[in-house]
Symmetry: C2
Subunit: 277 residues, 2 copies
């Protein structure tokens, strides 16, 4: 792991704080930059300085002044309306670059932001680069263990996600009775699990007792700094409501957010959380 | 096309009647066998004889007496509860075979039924064997034509369905903005299209005006006598509600049910119905 001074640009939710704590535990004190009007956690336990979206010049000046070598962009960030950005002089100097950023989709925007930061000599790193301990491990993460049938289901799911990888669809699916019964598209993980719950409830998807495995993995070649597959307490609750037996995650490549809460919830629900592949 | 006397075992809906009419137009008068308590259409325009599920011996006797060489199983058929089947002597003689049928899933049940019929020397054929004119043609089936972008979207969809083919997932997807945004699982085509409509409505899936293409094709190696991909007026209505531009179907391999109604609805809605691959 690099020892360059680390900054974390903080979006919404508690994840930026969680990553900051993990970095501190690893002996790497981060400097936090909560995005004004977006970040929601209490960052008072860390050195921090709020930053207004659009003040690109000020951001780069801060990074330079503090000798920041690496920055991680963590937490949900709504796509800003560029007409509402109050650009500072440093942004206006880069107006052409910024205009280009907004011509593509959300991923393209983030890819462009990363490239713009790296042109300033600061490396952009991912959450799991800063806090590898928060990734799904190899094997069971909680107390419940998958059985051979669960592992076979996980294998089908990983192979399926690998097969659809070139198509930039979702990152997860549900395998039940030896086949893929639901695939995540733009609707997202929680909506897909909600659908499985509905189909169990209506009898469209029949199975005795808890059955089925949720499988999640990044797309092949995916830049996880842009889009990191993540599970958390909500995923566990949705998997339980869908009557599943557990969660199979690509080891080292999926973030378990709110780790202790997530694993406690899984233990309590009798679900395994399992890293493999 | 075979000239052997043709029977149609009729399940629920109007499709059995539609196939029977198409066979008659082709100069092949079918004998209809509506399943008692399941078939719903009015079969009085054709020679027919209702049949009670479970009376296997009677069915085979009828087929033999009429010299039937081919039979098509058409229309929705709920999985019967074998405890409620009143088996006749011909069924009891085959009790072992029948017990085995019920140990697998719905597809396995139908595969078993087909094998059992074929052991009696009667070929089981598919709807499109009897009525090839009801399949999606090559090119536009209605008045609206896809443009080059639509055809590119269809190509992505067909390639995607081909890639997931080994996994026995759904037979359809929606492509929008160059990517697959929704994939059909066990929930079925209409629910998937409803999801796309919801995502358009909520802004989760953003696009200007009508956008996106529904793509449907059979799985590679799929026995279309067991599971024939089908669209109809409901599919067109759901595609319209989802704000799509049209439907791309595997030419010759997808049944357009209620053909005139379906194509009139597509024309009225400004949607293309296009056969390719």
């Amino acid at each position: 792991m690099s020892s360059a001074p680390l900054a974390i640009l903080c979006g919404a939710g508690d994840l930026p704080l969680e990553i900051a704590r993990a970095a501190r535990l690893d002996g790497r004190e981060p400097f936090l930059i909560p995005v004004f009007g977006v970040a929601t956690a209490d960052f008072s336990a860390f050195a921090h300085e709020a930053w207004r979206l659009g003040a690109i010049g000020a951001l780069f000046a801060t990074l330079r002044a503090r000798g920041i070598g690496e920055i991680a962009l963590i937490g949900a960030m709504n796509r800003p309306d560029w007409r509402e950005l109050r650009l500072d002089w440093g942004a206006i100097k880069r107006a052409d670059d910024i205009a280009k950023l907004f011509s593509g989709g959300d991923d393209a925007l983030l890819v462009g932001v990363i490239a713009m930061i790296e042109r300033e000599g600061v490396s952009v790193v991912g959450a799991l680069d800063v806090a590898p301990n928060l990734a799904a491990p190899s094997g069971a993460a909680g107390r419940v263990k998958p059985d051979a049938e669960d592992e076979a289901a996980a294998k089908i799911g990983f192979a399926f996600l690998e097969a659809i990888s070139p198509f930039d669809v979702g990152q997860s699916c549900v395998v039940l009775g030896g086949r893929v019964v639901a695939v995540e598209g733009v609707e997202g993980t929680d909506a897909m699990l909600g659908r499985v719950a509905d189909m169990r409830g209506s009898g469209r998807l029949r199975a005795k007792g808890d059955a089925g495995v949720f499988v999640k993995a990044p797309k092949r070649g995916q830049d996880t700094r842009v889009d990191l597959p993540t599970i958390g307490p909500k995923t566990v609750a949705a998997a339980k409501a869908a009557g599943l037996r557990g969660l199979a995650l690509a080891a080292g490549q999926v973030l378990i957010a709110d780790r202790s809460l997530t694993l406690a919830a899984a233990d309590a629900a009798g679900l395994f959380v399992f890293g493999a592949r």
